[in-house]
Amino acid sequence: MRDALIISLVFHVVIITVGMLGLPMFSREKPTQMRVIPVEMISIGEVTKLAAQQKKPDPVTKKTPPKKKTPERKVEMPPPPPKLASNMPLPDMATKPKKVKKKVEPKKTAPKMANRAPKVTPKKKPSRFNSGKLSALLDKREEAQPNIIELLKDKKFGEEKVISTVDVRQQTLSIIDAVGQHIFNNQCWNIPAGAKGAEGLVVTIQARLSPDGKLIGSPKVLESRRMTMPGQEFFRTAAESALRAVRKCAPYDFLPKEQYNLWRELDIVFDPEYAISG
């Protein structure tokens, strides 16, 4: 009995702490998926408009062109809203949705299918959506219990797919482009020119932003240990130049407030290699 108690206690504690701390620490590499961008130039156009017109005009312009699209998606989305929310960058939410996912698997499959065939124009998607949903539903009814393997597959697919939902992708791209342009246009980044071995001096700065675009706390350098290691003076210099850039360019108040959950935490990668040779 005691053992069982201890074991169950340990489990509970671990699960609860994970639930409280969230899992973002484990998933650092995920962002690369979002960086694979086969996407249309359209979104960038929107961004530049965004940057030029500032906050208020942007949402209007955005909404007007995609109005036709959004209703369609809204129609589609209602079933999987929990998934979307779960996969969104909100770190706190991450744990809870997992549990939900297991139970609501069929719904997940539907969005996955949608994403699998995303390269087709959006109008075609709805039809596939439906079929996907249907098949998923069918699966459930026929074999409710033995589908563990399928379930696992579904989970993986579900994650990738949800992230790359066209809307989120476009918004993400807009934000990426807007921040990049902001840093370049305002001459915030002074490249540490001519350092030996510039290839190895890529620095990632992790910044937390408030809804009005201000930095929360001081931005952090990924691998900040390297900054104090002997023989890594060039890295320290590069890291400090990147930190200066992020600080100098704050506040980032041009970012669309309605998408705050997308940009409340930003990883900004400074790569001096091309910057120097160019």
């Binding site: 370049f184 030996k196 990668v269």
Partner: protein, 453 residues
């Protein structure tokens, strides 16, 4: 057994956890920034605060503080990596003490400064000056470095150079080159009767001294990388000979009496050997001499002219130029003389290769279509870049940190035989920051010292 069970369960639990942890994506947006500006970093350098009533030979302590700040500004600006903000723009507030210990970063940020240097200077009872400075990160609102020096007032310039080096090192991650000297050949007189004297000065042109009187022709001075010692070529009884000259003691000695003519001497990185060319029976080859034992080893034996040898900083390789391929080109070999490989393949002629003290590049002179260029390439011959171009650019020498190259430039003669002035110039690795050194007379063949210790 129980323990085993518990262990199993716990590991299973962790496996489950890691699965859970990796499965959902708490995605963060990643912004790639790969365009930036290579503008000089704006830095505010304030005068060192000192007492006006304390008088040292040459001025008040306050005055010394101002002069030191001026030298630091000039050094950093000349590097091309910093822009000193005009003191007119400084916003004044708070007491002197407050500003020294806890500067108002918002004021400095407002005028665009990324870094701030402040400090103080005071007279000690023993007649020495105490100089303190702090370097602040204005945007990060913290101190980056701070140092204190004691020195006699006449060494105030060196203190300024040492502070410049400390700032440079902290901001760029690379050691500085301001506390250094340059030897060169000072030239005067008409073209047919040039008087050439060995001269030495600080890296910024100050403290200029002539080392020789000009009776004997002096050529190709080279600094030892480890000591304040020079090797150079001088004509003795009409024979060119390699000499050693100790700057501190003024002692001069001839480096062996060789059967043929010796020239183009250069120290090994540890300062214990001199590598040079020797012409014997009409053929030039490369030799190296151990300074303690005076033992000589021959490195190349080829009918072509091999000259201008220079060691890599790890002493494993030697670069030199040779016309063995038909025209003058740059070669690299192991320091034993084996595995000779040609590395320059561009059009024109390549000469005077010099290995960078940081090892990543070889500087050279290139001659093509009637123009001269100073350039750099990697030791494997790739990545050739030309940094300067003129009627005649020659004789590159590296700053000890491998960031700046000094060379000499000669102006063309006009129809009436006027012109032909030679001056020293510096250019940094970007190729954009080219500056002339000021010397009292014409100048050629510079050699940069290591950091003074």
């Amino acid at each position: 057994m129980r323990l085993l069970k518990i262990l199993k369960l716990v590991t299973a639990g962790f496996a489950l956890l890691t699965f859970m942890a990796t499965s959902p994506a708490a995605a963060r947006i990643v912004v790639d920034v790969n365009r930036g500006h290579a503008d000089p970093l704006p830095i505010a350098i304030t005068d060192l605060v000192g007492s006006e009533s304390d008088i040292v030979s040459g001025g008040s302590v306050k005055n010394y503080g101002q002069r030191i700040a001026l030298v630091i500004k000039a050094n950093l600006t000349r590097s091309g990596l910093f822009r000193s903000i005009d003191p007119e723009a400084f916003i004044k507030s708070g007491t002197i003490e407050e500003n020294l210990r806890n500067p108002n970063f918002n004021n400095w940020k407002a005028i665009g400064a990324h870094a701030l240097m402040n400090g103080s200077i005071s007279l000690q009872e023993d007649g020495r000056l105490k100089v303190e400075f702090r370097l602040w990160d204005v945007l990060g609102t913290n101190q980056m470095t701070g140092l204190r020096y004691f020195t006699s007032p006449k060494n105030w310039r060196r203190i300024a150079h040492l502070i410049s080096d400390a700032i440079y090192k902290r901001m760029t991650g690379e050691s500085g080159y301001f506390d250094t000297r340059v030897v060169y050949i000072s030239e005067s007189g008409i073209a047919t009767q040039r008087v050439k004297r060995l001269a030495i000065m600080d890296q910024d042109g100050h403290n200029h001294i002539f080392l020789t009187n000009g009776k004997n022709l002096v050529l190709t001075p080279r600094f030892s990388p480890t000591a304040q010692e020079i090797t150079y070529l001088s004509y003795h009884n009409d024979d060119p000979r390699v000499y050693l000259y100790n700057i501190d003691s003024g002692k001069q000695e001839i480096l062996g009496d060789f059967p043929g003519m010796t020239f183009a001497p250069r120290f090994s990185p540890d300062g214990n050997k001199v590598i040079m060319s020797q012409a014997y029976k009409g053929n030039s080859d490369i030799y190296v001499m151990e300074l303690r034992t005076r033992k000589i080893q021959r490195l190349t034996s080829h009918t072509a002219i091999d000259t201008s040898p220079s060691y890599s900083p790890d002493s494993r390789f030697v670069t030199f130029n040779s016309d063995r391929g038909g025209s003058q080109q740059i070669y690299v070999m192991e320091s034993s003389g084996k595995n000779i490989k040609r590395i320059s393949f561009g059009k024109g002629r390549y000469s005077t290769p010099v290995w960078s003290p940081r090892g990543d590049l070889i500087a050279f002179t290139r001659q093509y279509k009637g123009k001269f260029y100073i350039g750099v390439m990697r030791p494997d011959g790739s990545g050739e870049r030309l940094l300067s171009e003129s009627f005649l650019d020659e004789g590159p020498t590296w700053s000890p940190n491998g960031r700046v190259i000094m060379f000499f430039r000669q102006q063309p003669y006009d129809d009436k035989g006027r012109g032909g002035e030679t001056q020293l110039w510096t250019v940094d690795l970007t190729g954009y920051n080219e500056r002339q050194m000021i010397t009292p007379l014409d100048a050629s063949d510079p050699a940069w010292s290591p950091l003074i210790r």
